[in-house]
Structures are given as C-alpha cells and as structure tokens.
C-alpha cells in the first residue's frame, strides 16, 4: 500500500536551465514543475532535444539549474547525491572495459565501502535479476549490446538506492528483448518499491511501464502534459491491447503532436 499523501521524493518548482553555447543560449528547460511520489514509475517522453536527459541530470546533480528549485528526498540534489540516493543508468551502457561484468557491478559497492562478502552476495543477486549470472567473468566486449545494457542496469541496482534514473536504457535494443526487459523492470519495481524516472522515445513503452507519463516538447524544453495512468500496477504484456491502454497512448501521441505543431 502506498501512501500518496507523504511528501514527494522529487519535487521541481519552476525549474529553468539555459546552456551558454558558442551559438548563443540554449533554453533546455523552461518552467518545469513536477512532483514525483515515492514508488512512482515516471516516464519522460518527447522529441529529441526537448530536455529529457537534461532534466534527469538536474535531478542527479550532474547539471546545475539556472533558475527554480528542486529537492530530492527533501534535500538539494547535491546532498542527495552525496547520500547516494540514486542509481543512474546512462543512455549508453558505459561499462569499464578493463573490468569483468562482475567487476563492473562491484564498482559502486567498492566505492561505497561494502564488505567483501556483501559485495559478492549483491553482485550475484543483481546479476541473477538481469539474467546475466553465467557472464560474471566475461569482459564487456564479449557481450552483446543488450547484455551490456542489462549489466549497466545491474550496476545501478547493486547498491539499492531508492531512486533509479534511467536514460533510454533500452533505446538500442530490438522489440522482443525490449519487451522482455520491460517486464523484468516492472517485476523489479513491484518487488522493490523503488521510485523510477525513465526516459524513452517509445509511446507503448512509456504507457506500459508508467504510473505517470510526462510529455515534453522542445525549444524551449518544457512539460506539455502530465498523464496519471489508470492502469493497474499488475501489467501483463497483453494489457497493451486493452482499450484503456490505447486511450492513454492516444493522449500521449496528441501531446507529442501538439508540441510539434508549436514549431
């Protein structure tokens, strides 16, 4: 049972971010306000360059907003980062080539000072979770792109942060593998009650996974629609053929189209 009355885990108010570039300022985020409650699965969807990655990076304290306010777990993003509040999955797997898969997953555990036994146990557990148990001793180049991406998800899960930020983690994968990973991700989310921020370009993926869908549009990057999904938390893959699903997907598509018409 989730208590939606509690303070939001992530709260942004009138967030602005302008990059100063050589060809003038780029308004990557304009007046972004959003609350994300504990245990929510929030998808960000929108055309390329609308500021999805930038917003995720602001939450993770990898980018400093030029205006507005944001809190994570009631603290500044900087403090939240230092208390190791989130795992971040980048757009590319970004495994360290000189470490085995197990070694890569172990990296955050080593840095955070987990005991040897604990490291071992956690590596085994998360590798099993992403179905890579047999590949612990392989090096990244010996794995397919999809397996590497799964390893990078395992790496983000290993230290059990409450918040998981994922930037198009399945962008480069084929449809079937993607379905499979989507199912796994939902299972994981249901089991762990994590709060997840998830960037995607795929409407079905966003609708299938999310309790909240944030539609964004570019120039300047802003939120054009926030859709709270009425779908149940338990979601078999064939829910995608249900009328509710199709209705939400339609609304997302309308939102994206409206953003485009502004150009």
């Amino acid at each position: 049972m989730r208590d939606t009355v509690t303070a939001p885990v992530i709260s942004a108010r009138g967030l602005n971010l302008t990059f100063q570039t050589n060809d003038g300022p780029v308004h990557a985020l304009k007046d972004v306000s959003l609350d994300i409650a504990k245990g929510e699965f929030v998808s960000f969807i929108g055309p390329s360059g609308c500021g999805k990655t930038t917003f995720l990076r602001v939450i993770a304290d990898l980018e400093q907003p030029t205006g507005g306010e944001i809190t994570v777990n009631g603290m500044s993003p900087d403090a939240a980062r230092k208390s190791r509040a989130y795992g971040y999955v980048f757009q590319a797997a970004g495994l360290y080539p000189w470490r085995t898969i197990a070694g890569n997953v172990k990296l955050p555990l080593e840095i955070m000072g987990f005991s040897h036994a604990e490291q071992q146990a956690r590596v085994e557990k998360v590798l099993e979770l992403v179905e890579l148990s047999g590949f612990a001793r392989k090096f990244p180049w010996q794995l397919s792109g999809g397996m590497q991406q799964r390893a990078s998800i395992a790496r983000a899960l290993a230290f059990d942060a409450d918040i998981l930020l994922m930037d198009e983690p399945f962008g480069a994968l084929d449809e079937i593998v993607r379905d499979r990973l989507n199912e796994q991700l939902l299972e994981l989310w249901a089991r762990t009650e994590k709060t997840i921020g998830f960037v995607t370009h795929s409407i079905p993926e966003a609708v299938y996974l999310s309790t909240k869908i944030v539609v964004m549009s570019p120039r300047p990057g802003r939120i054009t629609d926030i859709i709270d999904s009425p779908l149940p938390r338990e979601r078999p893959l064939d829910i995608r053929d249900s009328p509710e699903f199709i209705k939400i997907a339609h609304r997302v598509r309308e939102g994206l189209r409206a953003g485009h018409l502004d150009d």
Partner: protein
C-alpha cells in the same frame, strides 16, 4: 610467426647493402697498401682485403659480429681477466661495459618514469600545474642533450658526485618527458560519462583516480615507457662521452674513436642497439600480460 619472413628479408637486404658499401669504402686503403708493397691487387683479392682490414673505414658485418662474440662470450669464458678466471666481469668485455651503462639507464629510467607519472598526476589534478609545468617540460627537451650533459656532469663532479648518479640524472632528464606527455593524455582518457558515473556514486578524488583514471591510462603508460627506456639508454651513453669515462658503452665508443678502432665502435653501437631492443621487448611482454589481464587484448 608468419611475419618472420618479411623481417628476415629486410635484414638480409640491409646486410647485403652493408657488404656492398664495404668494398668502395675500404678499397682506397687496400690499394695504397698494395702500391707501397709494390704489388698489384686482383679484384677478388681487393674485395677480400676490404673485408678483413684491422682498422677499416667501414667494418664488414661479419667483423662486427666476430668482435661482438669475442668481446662478450670469448672474453668472459677464456680471457685472463674474464669471469671464468677471476669471478668478476672483465673490463675488456662488452658485458661489463654494457652493465655499467645499463645500471645507469635503469636507475634513470626508474626515476624518470616515477617523476613523469607524478608530474602527470599533478597536471591532471591541479590547474596551476596544468598551466605551468608543461611549457617547462617541453622547453627542457628543446635544449640539445649534448650541450647540457657535459655541464651537468662537470657540475656534479665538482661537488664530488661521480659515477652512476650523474649518468642516471641525464637518463632521467630524457626519460621523464615521454612519460609526462603519455600519462597526461592517459589520465585524461576517461570520457564525460565515465566521470559522471563516478560522480553519481559520490566517489572521492583518490577513488576516481585509482578506479577510473589509472586503469584508463595503462595503454598510454606502456607506450610511453617504451619510448622512455630507449631515451634513458641514449642519455646514459651520452653522459659517458664528455668526461672520458673509462667504463660503459659510451666509453667504448669514445676510446674506439681515439684509436681508430672502428670495429670496436661498431660493436659497441650494436651492443647498445641490442640492449635497447631487449628492454623495449621486455616492456612489451609486461604490457601484453597486463593488458590481457585487464581484458584489453593489445
């Protein structure tokens, strides 16, 4: 092993070229000798003579090889002052002179690589060092080593430091530079995403260094160590020239040129080349083993 044939072919071609050059280079002297003795030289006799002179302008390959063999194995095994007779290396053997130079080379190389790595770490982590050290490092290498080596040796001799240390300092002077350049590049090799990942873990500076920057720099380190060790050898040899040192490959080169012992000069040169090649090959072996263990087959 499949590329051994081209290597052998090139070597054979070079040796053939060398032999071809020996005849015209030494023919003058052979004919002068013959005229003085009032004899006439046939062509075969002339060619044979050019390849067996005591002090040829250009010694033939087999003369150099013979001298290398005599001044190493033969001298140590059977020489009066050789290892077999006295239990210590003969001061007439290239093994002895090679070791004198090698010890200075290795000491200078160790200090030079250590210094190079330390400077690179400083440059990468400290803005002030980044702006100030590199120009000086580059400037240091634009001064001809032949000009600065005698000064360093003489100054150190004046304050009573002789022998190994001054030579090692010249080696250091030449070998730190490639390591600085390579390691600065290597320690900066991690891309923005790899660094961001560390930031999301809130990793400390030393952790970012040991778990990201240092392993990323490994391929660069070995590449620069290979250059550095060859430079260190050059430094040690050059350091032996200006003071008329009595031991070392540099000393052999010098005494060879005083007494017109071209065969001795050439064999010392080859000994130096063989030494350099073996050291570079040794680093290559360590490099391959290390990178293979790191999953980065070189």
């Amino acid at each position: 092993m499949r590329n051994i044939i081209p290597v052998l072919a090139v070597t054979a071609a070079l040796i053939a070229l060398w032999y071809a050059a020996v005849v015209p280079m030494n023919a003058q002297w052979a004919q002068d000798q013959a005229r003085r003795a009032g004899t006439d030289l046939t062509l075969p006799a002339l060619i044979a003579d050019t390849m067996s002179q005591q002090r040829p302008r250009l010694p033939a390959p087999h003369q150099v090889a013979q001298e290398l063999w005599n001044s190493t194995v033969v001298e140590e095994m059977t020489g009066r002052r050789g290892f077999m007779n006295t239990g210590s290396l003969s001061n007439r053997s290239l093994v002895y002179h090679g070791w004198v130079t090698l010890s200075a080379t290795l000491l200078g190389f160790a200090i030079g690589s250590g210094l190079g790595i330390a400077l690179a770490v400083g440059i990468v982590h400290n803005r002030a060092m980044d702006a100030s050290v590199m120009p000086w490092a580059i400037a240091s290498q634009t001064i001809p080593i032949l000009a600065i080596a005698p000064m360093i040796i003489v100054v150190l001799n004046a304050i009573g430091i002789t022998g190994l240390i001054p030579k090692a300092i010249i080696s250091t002077y030449l070998s730190f530079f490639p390591v600085v350049v390579g390691m600065v590049k290597g320690l900066r090799a991690p891309d923005a995403m790899q660094l961001d990942l560390m930031k999301t873990y809130s990793a400390s500076g030393p952790q970012v260094f040991s778990k990201l920057r240092w392993p990323s720099a490994m391929p660069y380190l070995f590449a620069s160590l290979k250059v550095a060790i060859a430079a260190a050898l050059v430094g040690a040899i050059v350091a032996e020239l200006p003071t008329g040192a009595v031991a070392g490959l540099g000393a052999r080169l010098l005494s060879g040129s005083y007494y017109g012992q071209t065969v001795q000069i050439w064999s010392a040169l080859f000994a130096a080349a063989i030494l350099a090649a073996s050291m570079v090959a040794l680093i290559g072996v360590i490099q391959r083993a290390t990178l293979r263990r790191m999953g980065m087959a070189a």
